[in-house]
Subunit: 402 residues, 2 copies
């Protein structure tokens, strides 16, 4: 077993916490492949049911799509035409969040900076106003709490807004969480729940017993046997060469770039999430500000580009000009997992014993609680929540994959 | 003596090279305070004359203004109205560059990436065209080699230029050098010349003998006695609290931000320096590109700001749109030393034994060779080159300082 410690950011976790899994004697109930927000949440919920669980990752926890997530919990802003089932899933997960966070903070002893701060979507010209109006009508028809505001009312909510703002929609129930803090808390909670995390352990070979997936062999040569193997490795799920081709889900990498800024804690740039058609600005309670995110179909490219940084700064500056004064602390690129319809894959895979928890695209942080509920039920042999039905691999049958 | 090694960037220099200066027995001929490009060049040239020299710095070599220098050697582009003496100084130093570099590379065994690549100054609208035309007329009246180009001719030189370019001025003699490579070579040359570099050694107290400056005491408690003390610590020269107030030169920090990009070596963004009224783009032979620089009067503030990065990217993108594809590798802020007229201070200071080599503002890299010639002559008790006369402290007598 590779003796690497778990890392999150620059902080090495306690080496004592890296334990060799007790797999010699017994088969796991669930092996989770991928230690992002999704995989860790699934592992935690499964372990809470008394299941014997392990989670492996070839890299550090949260180093995939989680590392470029802004942590917006904004199902209303994400609502789009013809996506009722996805909206319901997003709303269900958002509803779970307060309880999920309270339980996680208690279980881990760590804060995750969850805030139901609300979101203000603004338009900056006539075209954007019309688009915002269309979205607001959709939100109204779906019974969502989203209130149309005139420019002056927008600036009363957020005095830092550009004077060019022509209209806004305020969704007071939207929230945010710090994805890094979330992952750190999940790592702690998972460990406290007795789950054995193994870093630096990528899956390299499936253990197949006929049509049944019975576990994986890792890059370190270890054999991890499990009744269920949960595929939760983000975009990499679609490139899982260790799985038989027909069992690989149609997931592609979708590049995103975000930038991190820092301002004074006592003089926040804005109080709530502020978004235009082109950018979102997520303020943290401590003065940090995340600006995201580009959406680029460039394959598995992790280059931070001048164009990406420029576009994010330009659009953020259009909305909140005071952003110019903030400290520029980082620009990061990451890869989100996208499916053909950009909705997640939650359900049984194309092999017996394979469970899918991937394809969460731009909403992995939001969808972690509901995905974890569904996956924990599936690995326990129970019924998942009805709202998560319809997100299985079946919907892509007959669809040409990557 | 603090035992810290010399650092340049992330590369610790050979600890063997950190020698305790032989100051116990004898007084130095020259003590240079400040190990930027200017201080190191002065120390090197002085040591070459057989003088006994030491150079100290509270930080690593080149960590001041040098760290945000793009390395443009562009006296023609810098030419401005009513600054004939400064133009002559800039031209004289540019003329010294090929020989200075050849000698330095030979003495240090290191390349400094000097290229006489030329510069193309472009305009992007009618106002900028008129300003460029005025500058070109000035350049013509001064007999400088700067050629007016129509848009098509500009794009023949630099095919990556934006189609919005309305005019250009080509100055084929302008050049560039890599300031980091220059400093690393100067450190090596200085060491080979027997100069004892001491890092982590800020001056904290003047050793005064009547009206004569006889050396300094350092933060480490060491006493360094010298016949001449060369003040070459950039903007910090004006904040030298260890000097009597009347001996502190009027030098203020002028903040600059630059960004570093990287593109493919075999497909350069541009062949020569490309500048607009608002930005300059300096390509290196290895595919790196430096975009500079903001000029901000904010005191000693080293914050990289969203506004600074945005402005540089926006203006660079206006000129060379392909910049969007380049990798964004760094954004850095630094402080240039500015005098009341933004021309350098080269000459004797207000105390006997004090020599000034500071205030080089945006042209420290360009002016290093001529400054070093002048300072080496002054510490040797010789006449400096006539072109460097007129840059003494006398010109600010009666002027209110900072």
């Amino acid at each position: 077993m590779p003796a690497q410690g778990w890392w999150y950011g620059n902080r090495p976790l306690d080496r004592e916490a890296v334990r060799v899994p007790r797999t010699d004697s017994k088969t796991l109930d669930a092996l989770v492949v991928g230690a992002g927000a999704i995989g860790l949440a699934c592992a935690w919920r499964a372990a809470q049911r008394g299941l014997r669980v392990a989670v492996i990752d070839r890299e550090a926890p949260g180093s995939g799509a989680t590392s470029v997530a802004a942590g917006m919990l904004a199902p209303i802003g994400e609502a789009s035409w013809g996506e009722q089932a996805l909206l319901d899933l997003n709303l269900a997960s958002a509803k779970l969040y307060p309880g999920f966070v309270a339980e996680l903070e208690s279980a881990s002893g760590r804060a995750v900076d969850y805030r139901r701060c609300g979101a203000l979507h603004v338009a900056l010209d006539r075209d954007e106003s019309e688009e915002l109006r269309r979205r607001h009508e959709l939100q109204g028809s779906l019974g969502l709490d989203a209130r149309w505001l005139r420019p002056r009312a927008c600036r009363e909510l957020e005095p830092g807004l550009a004077t060019a703002v022509t209209a806004g929609v305020h969704a007071p129930d939207e929230g945010e969480v710090d994805p890094r803090a979330l992952v750190a808390a999940l790592v702690a909670a998972v460990e406290r729940a007795g789950v054995e995390p193994i870093a630096g352990a990528g899956a390299v070979e499936a253990i197949l017993e006929g049509d049944r997936l019975a576990g994986v062999r890792t890059a370190g040569g270890d054999e991890l046997r499990a009744a269920r193997t949960v595929l939760a490795c983000g975009w990499w799920s679609g490139a899982a060469e260790w799985l038989p081709p027909r069992a690989r889900p149609p997931v592609r990498p979708v590049k995103g770039q975000i930038i991190s800024l820092r301002g004074p804690e006592d003089e926040p740039l804005c109080e709530r999430i502020v978004a235009s058609q082109w950018v979102y600005v997520v303020p943290r309670a401590d003065g940090r500000v995340i600006v995201g995110a580009t959406v680029e179909e460039r394959g598995a490219d992790l280059t931070v580009t001048a164009g990406g940084v420029h576009e994010l700064l330009r659009e953020a500056y259009r909305v909140l000009p005071d952003i110019a004064e903030l400290e520029f602390t980082a620009a990061v690129a990451g890869l989100r997992p996208g499916t053909p319809d950009n909705a997640p894959l939650i359900g049984h895979g194309a092999l017996n014993g394979l469970v899918l928890a991937t394809g969460h695209y731009r909403n992995g942080i939001l969808l972690a609680p509901i995905t974890a509920e569904a996956v924990a039920a599936l690995v326990a042999g129970e019924e998942p929540p009805p709202v998560s039905e319809g997100f299985g691999i079946e919907r892509f049958e007959g669809v040409a994959t990557l």
